[in-house]
């Protein structure tokens, strides 16, 4: 086929319709989060002492951490849908949850006696953390990947991994309100591990679904 003939077919194809890529991305993010929130309320729900816990720094810090992961990951995933995108300063913001967590761990190590470190780290619910966070990530990750198929990322695997990180951030935000372990030693050990599972799934799925 000659290129002029292909252009005939492209020109005859109707103009793009519907909402913009970023609008679709935001709807997918919201819808995925909503489905996960319903699922979370159905299977776990917030812990019973949440009103008292909300006044403790360690509990609140979990949400700062998880949101610091979810928001920059989502923004970066959206930006990388443009083929000529440069990550820019947003990539640096992605280090925020790790820096926060690192500082919290140092603080915890100075405040808590060394013979309690092991117990704090292992906590009471590590397996819950490793199963519930990936489970609650499924809906946001699927919704995001679906919306992102309209984009043209230079590196589909990276874009998928970031969608995974955003989904894990949402899931971890929900789960943090149920998780009885607030010590940064626990959070720094198990939350990143659960996130890594979702990021890996996102990278593999993105590498397949977001190719163009």
């Amino acid at each position: 086929m000659k290129t002029s003939q292909l252009i005939d077919a492209l020109a005859a194809d109707p103009k793009p319709q519907g909402p913009s890529l970023s609008a679709r991305f935001c709807v997918a993010l919201g819808a995925g989060a909503l489905v996960s929130a319903c699922l979370f309320l159905a299977i776990a729900g917030p812990r019973s002492d949440i009103a008292a816990a909300a006044h403790t720094l360690r509990f609140d810090l979990k949400f700062v951490d998880t949101l610091a992961l979810a928001l920059p990951s989502a923004l970066l995933a959206l930006r990388l849908l443009r083929p000529d995108a440069r990550p820019g300063a947003l990539a640096l913001v992605l280090s925020a949850p790790f820096l926060l967590l690192g500082a919290a761990v140092v603080m915890e190590l100075t405040l808590v006696p060394a013979d309690l470190w092991g117990a704090k780290l292992i906590g009471s619910n590590a397996m819950h953390c490793l199963t519930i966070i990936p489970l609650l990530s499924i809906a946001p990750l699927a919704a995001l990947l679906f919306a992102m198929r309209d984009g043209a990322p230079q590196h589909p695997g990276v874009a998928g991994a970031l969608a995974g990180a955003a989904a894990a951030g949402i899931a971890a935000t929900l789960y943090a309100s149920n998780c009885p372990d607030d010590s940064p030693l626990f959070v720094a050990s198990w939350y990143p591990l659960a996130t890594l599972i979702v990021v890996a799934v996102g990278a593999v799925a993105g590498g397949r679904l977001l190719r163009w």
Partner: protein, 189 residues
């Protein structure tokens, strides 16, 4: 006039044409795709020459790029220049084509904006894989794409010949173009 794509004037023109095209101006869209095609052809030829891999794939890259530009229009920010966006898509498609050819190492395509400044006309003998890939579509879709591209028929006359509504032909055409892009992606040389 030898303005590069990165050059404000020529690039602003492309962005304006794309905005008009998205608003539904078919004639401007056709002219824009022709101009982009000529620029991408020059860039792809240069890239393949530097990689010493022959220019058998040049027209494939041009057509894959135009198809991607068409299907991914949504990913262009209308307030930005069009040239860098086109260049990024073309570069992606050149690298894809070289990968399919089994090239292990690529010359980085740094200077696409200057290469794009010397547009090249289509070689009348050049053929792409598109025709073979269209052959893999379902019969009805194949018929519609051939009618509108190879035979140069309009949507209206294609619809009349196939006893379909124009809307149905448009939907089938759009779907076929998406399938064509997917087939190209997974095509081996």
């Amino acid at each position: 006039m030898s303005a590069a794509v990165g050059d404000g004037q020529s690039d602003e023109k492309w962005a304006g044409m794309m905005r008009a095209a998205i608003a539904g101006d078919e004639a401007v869209y056709r002219r824009l795709l022709e101009e982009i095609g000529r620029s991408v052809r020059a860039m792809a030829r240069g890239a393949f020459a530097r990689a010493r891999s022959g220019d058998a794939d040049v027209e494939d890259v041009v057509q894959e790029t135009l198809l991607a530009i068409h299907l991914k229009r949504n990913s262009w920010d209308r307030s930005l220049r069009l040239g860098p966006w086109v260049g990024a898509i073309a570069r992606h498609k050149v690298i894809d084509a070289m990968r399919r050819r089994g090239a292990r190492r690529f010359q980085p395509i740094e200077d696409f904006e200057t290469i794009l400044a010397a547009p090249e006309a289509e070689d009348p003998h050049a053929r792409s894989d598109a025709e073979r890939l269209i052959g893999q579509l379902a019969p009805r879709q194949r018929d519609i794409v051939r009618s509108i591209s190879l035979d140069g028929q309009s949507i209206a006359s294609t619809a009349a010949r196939l006893a379909m509504s124009e809307g149905a032909v448009r939907v089938a055409l759009h779907r076929s173009l998406k399938l064509l892009a997917a087939a190209w992606r997974s095509a081996s040389p």
